[in-house]
């Protein structure tokens, strides 16, 4: 997994590439946690993410829960077909804001 983040306006965009699974979940969470300050706006960009497992979903869920408590928000963009289907089957599609690409995710955020 490769993970990096950049600040665009008032939004932190976190790019995750490769796999988000049991062996990379802790690294991803550790990378995201310092960004979760009061009112943080986070876009997770999955461009180049190959696959996600339930361990990866746990990272997204923990992030969304913490952001909700602190008045922040999470958006997700660029899911591939596999990730989109995981969101549909898990019901995550209805609890996360998912956008086709980064510019749509940043729009009005």
């Amino acid at each position: 997994m490769d993970i990096s983040n950049e600040r665009i306006g008032n939004v932190d965009v976190v790019s995750i590439q490769g796999s988000l699974d049991t062996n990379t979940a802790a690294q991803a969470q550790g990378h995201i946690n310092p960004l979760l300050e009061q009112g943080a706006r986070i876009v997770v960009d999955f461009q180049g993410l190959d696959y996600i497992s339930s361990a990866g979903l746990r990272v997204l869920l923990a992030t969304a829960k913490r952001l909700k408590k602190t008045g922040g928000a999470l958006r997700i963009c660029n899911p591939n077909d596999m990730v989109t289907e995981v969101f549909e089957v898990s019901g995550f599609g209805s609890i996360f804001d998912v956008y086709a690409d980064r510019s749509k995710a940043l729009d009005g955020f």
Partner: protein, 137 residues
């Protein structure tokens, strides 16, 4: 016959080796991308469950993983010597709860069942055996 035979240790870090071998196999045999990704997810969720919950001791154990490509389907078998446990007997995760009530329990198995064309468990000779079929057509 196109086949993978791999013995993993009961350590999730060994999953990386399975991913590498399976990705090479998938490339060689032109396994469609989404099917390959769904199998990687199934390996991750099933093997992680075994490593975390199957053993009462701290010893090293073997988890046998075989994959066969025949009749335009991937036939996966995951076999461990842990305590008897049928992963598919778990209650399905509730996928309708809102954010505050959501957790991940049971979700991995729910995804495996949804993405595989067949998934079954048997206790055989003191081993847990999970068999998955993923159709490629």
């Amino acid at each position: 016959m196109a086949r993978i035979d791999l013995i993993l240790k009961n350590d999730t870090s060994d999953l990386g080796r399975l991913n590498e071998v399976f990705n090479a196999f998938a490339a060689e045999h032109a396994v469609p991308t989404k099917a390959r990704q769904q199998c990687l997810m199934a390996f991750d969720d099933l093997v992680t469950n075994i490593v975390h919950y199957a053993y009462d001791d701290e010893d090293e154990h073997q988890i046998d993983v075989t994959v066969e490509l025949r009749a335009e389907a991937l036939h996966i078998r995951i076999r461990d010597d842990g305590r008897p446990f049928d992963p598919f007997s778990q209650e399905d995760a509730d996928t309708t709860l809102d954010l505050d009530e959501r957790d991940i329990g049971g979700l991995g198995i729910h995804l495996v069942r949804s993405f595989m064309d067949a998934s079954e468990y048997q206790r055989e000779d003191g081993h847990n055996v999970v068999r998955l079929t993923k159709n490629l057509t």
